[in-house]
Structures are given as structure tokens and as C-alpha cells.
């Protein structure tokens, strides 16, 4: 979706302002937004691309005025409501209303470290995707697509031409994974775009951008 999250190339957001003494979490509620999101993610009621889409769906003005963990909180509330796990009415009433849907999997304290250390790779067996469409050195153009649903091809590369730098392997395709849960594994590449191709005469000297893009985002140039 062409949401406020797709920030690459934007101006006017102010200085970066790194803070060397920044705490990992700034408030108790950030710890909770983080840990509740991870714990609920573990229950398997949604996948990571659906979680990203839920965060991106925040109204653009609000997205830009809020912080990372507010985006996470919004995403969590959207996902819980969509799956009828926690409704807005329950949040307003601050109590459980109606039946509670049982979940097949809960993250217990003892499972946390093994679950984190195991992770969940999005890489799939290469035999699931046939031959890669492109090899390193091939010129490719990112498709100009504008789905209202989740996608990982940023606006600033759409319609732009680059060169395949490396083939990463076969990975879950986020667009279908978010929409229906269909993994549709396909080849993923790092594509190199010259700064001038992306930004024209305003590009900085000697700068380029590498973007990870799947087969379905690319055409031969």
C-alpha cells in the first residue's frame, strides 16, 4: 500500500538526532507494546507480513505523528480485532465481553528463549521456485505496481532500472503472504540502483542503493 510508512526519499522530517544515551525502552508501556506483540505473534494467529500491513494501515497523518511502539500497538489492536480476539468494545469497557476464543498455542515463559533463538526463517527450499529469472549482472526494472494491499517494493524504485547484485535464494513473497497467507516462494535478489537513476541530478556523488526485490517485482530491462 502507498502509505506513510513508505518513507524513502522524503524531505521535511527534521534532523536525525541520534541520542547516545538512549534507553532501550522509554517507558513501561513501550516494554508492554513490544512484549505483547511478540507474545501474541507467537500464537500464530497472523504472520509477519500481516503484522506489517496492520501497522502500515494507520492513517498517514497519525503514522507520522506517532512513534514506533505506537505503530506496533495500533497494529496489534487491528490484528486482535480482525480475528475477534479482543474487540474495541472490550478495550473501551476494560473487560472481557462474550466468549473467549481458545488459541492452540501460547508463549510460556520457559519457551521464550528457545523460540527467539529458533526464529522463523522466510527462506524456502530452492526446488519450490524453479530457476531464478535473473543472474548477477542482469539489468532489471522494478515494476510500477500500486496495490492497496501489502507490498515491499518501495515507491522510490518503482519504474527504475538497476542491476542484480546477488541472488539471495528463495523466500516467502510478502504480498500474497499478507493478503491470504499464501507463501508463493520465489527468488529474491539484491538489486543495485545508481543514485542518479533514483534521484536524478539531485543524487549525491558516488552513492547508490541496494534493495531486496522478488521475481514478481522485476522485469528484464
Amino acid at each position: 500500500m502507498n502509505g506513510a510508512h513508505d518513507l524513502g526519499g522524503g524531505h521535511g522530517h527534521g534532523p536525525i538526532a541520534p541520542d547516545p544515551n538512549e534507553p532501550l525502552f522509554h517507558a513501561g508501556w513501550e516494554r508492554k507494546a513490544f512484549s505483547l506483540t511478540l507474545a501474541m505473534g507467537f500464537t500464530g494467529q497472523w504472520n509477519i507480513d500481516q503484522a506489517r500491513f496492520a501497522r502500515e494501515s494507520m492513517a498517514p497523518g497519525r503514522y507520522l505523528e506517532t512513534t514506533y511502539y505506537e505503530h506496533w500497538l495500533h497494529g496489534l489492536e487491528v490484528l486482535l480485532a480482525e480475528r475477534a480476539l479482543v474487540s474495541e468494545a472490550e478495550i473501551q469497557a476494560a473487560e472481557s465481553i462474550g466468549e473467549t476464543k481458545p488459541l492452540p498455542r501460547i508463549l510460556n515463559a520457559a519457551d521464550v528463549l528457545p523460540a527467539l533463538q529458533k526464529g522463523g526463517s522466510a527462506k524456502r527450499d530452492e526446488s519450490t521456485a524453479g530457476q531464478p529469472k535473473f543472474q548477477p549482472g542482469a539489468h532489471v526494472t522494478a515494476r510500477n505496481i500500486n496495490p492497496p494491499t501489502h507490498t515491499r517494493v518501495p515507491r522510490y524504485v518503482r519504474g527504475r532500472t538497476g542491476v542484480i547484485d546477488r541472488v539471495h535464494g528463495v523466500f516467502v513473497f510478502p504480498d500474497t503472504h499478507s493478503k491470504t497467507g499464501d507463501e508463493r516462494p520465489q527468488w529474491l535478489y539484491a538489486v543495485r540502483f545508481e543514485g542518479t537513476e533514483l534521484w536524478g541530478p539531485d543524487a549525491e556523488v558516488g552513492a547508490c542503493v541496494y534493495v531486496d526485490l522478488w521475481d514478481d517485482y522485476l522485469d528484464p530491462a
Binding site: L7, G8, G10, H11, H13, P15, I16, A17, P18, D19, E22, L24, H26, A27, G28, W29, R31, K32, S35, L36, A39, T43, T67, Y68, E70, L73, E77, L85, V86, E90, E95, S96, T100, L103, I106, L107, N108, D111, V112, L116, K118, G119, A122, K123, P154, G169, F171, P174, L188, A190, W199, A203, E204, G206, A207, C208, V209, Y210, D212, L213
Partner: protein
Amino acid sequence: MPHDRHHHDHDHGSELTETELRVRTLESLLVEKGYVDPAALDVLVETYEKNVGPRNGARVVAKAWTDPDYKAWLLKDASAAIASLGYTGRQGEDMIVLENTDNVHNMVVCTLCSCYPWPVLGLPPTWYKAAPYRARSVSQPRSVLAEFDVTLPESTEIRVWDSTAETRYMILPMRPDGTDGWSAEQLADIVTRDSMIGTGLVEKSA
């Protein structure tokens, strides 16, 4: 900062902000429904507050600086080389390590969200997740680096890696001059988080 916007007009400590209240309500609902184990929440937070952070990545870098075979392995198969030191899992399942040199400077961003290699760097700093860095690092990397007090010659190519997929990038920074004979432990102590994102350089006197 935007996250202060809720705090403008109430007495300190006497009132919950709207966000604090919603999170508290959500937590009690999720616990009440049996979807969340409260003890698991504490372990999740403690893991990243105490155990998983940029010291992990620094040990990877220091080993690469002191062991040429490890460095070659790290640049070829980062996931396996990093896993051999015990750093694996969530948000670092498929790792790529990129080497900075006099000629090429790599830096990492995620313009679409805030993808970051958790097992080696921990959770990302606010600036990495906020709009200014995500917007400008791809179009104006030299001016972004200047905000981190890093100025590179025009002859150094700058490569910005936008983490749009589940591959996670870490930078192998340049080893500073004058550190010959240093142990891996000594070297790990001078490796900064920002140098592994690519927004900093490692200096001898850290």
C-alpha cells in the same frame, strides 16, 4: 519528540496517558483471556534489555578482524558464521555481512519499517525507526552521515542497503590503525553499534 505529545497537560505521575491506559487495558484483557503468560512478557523484555545487544555483533566483528578464515566465512555465509558464536534466531535468521573498506562504505536502513538484525545488534535505536533516517538515508546518505559526524571522501562509494526483505544486514567496519596485537576482547570493546549499522566508524580511543 512526537512521543512526548501525550504528556503535555497532565500532572506528573498522577494520571495515565491515553496510550499507557490502552496498553494496560490490553495487557489485562490478553492475560484474562489466557492468550498471554505475564511471565513470558518479562522474559521477552529482559532478554533484549540485558542479554541480546550490540556486544554480540562486536564480538563477531572482533573475531573477523583477528581470524582471516572466520572473516572469509562471515562474508560468504554470515548466518552460519554468526550462529557459530551462538547468535541466532528472530530477526536474524538470514544474515548478510558487508565489509567496509577505504573504497566502499556500506550502511543499512529499512525505509518501509525498521528491519534490524536483532541477534547481533539487539533492538534498534529510536533514530533508526524514525522518519528522518528512513526517509533520507537512501537519497542523501552523505548528509545523513554528517549528522553522525562521519565525513567520507567523494572517492568512497556509499552503498545504502534498504532491508525490504527478511535478509538482515550487518556491517563489518574497518579496523582502526594502531590496533595491531590487540586481543579480540580489546577490539570488541571499541566496536560501536553505529559502526555495524554503517553510520559510524570505529575509533581506537573508544
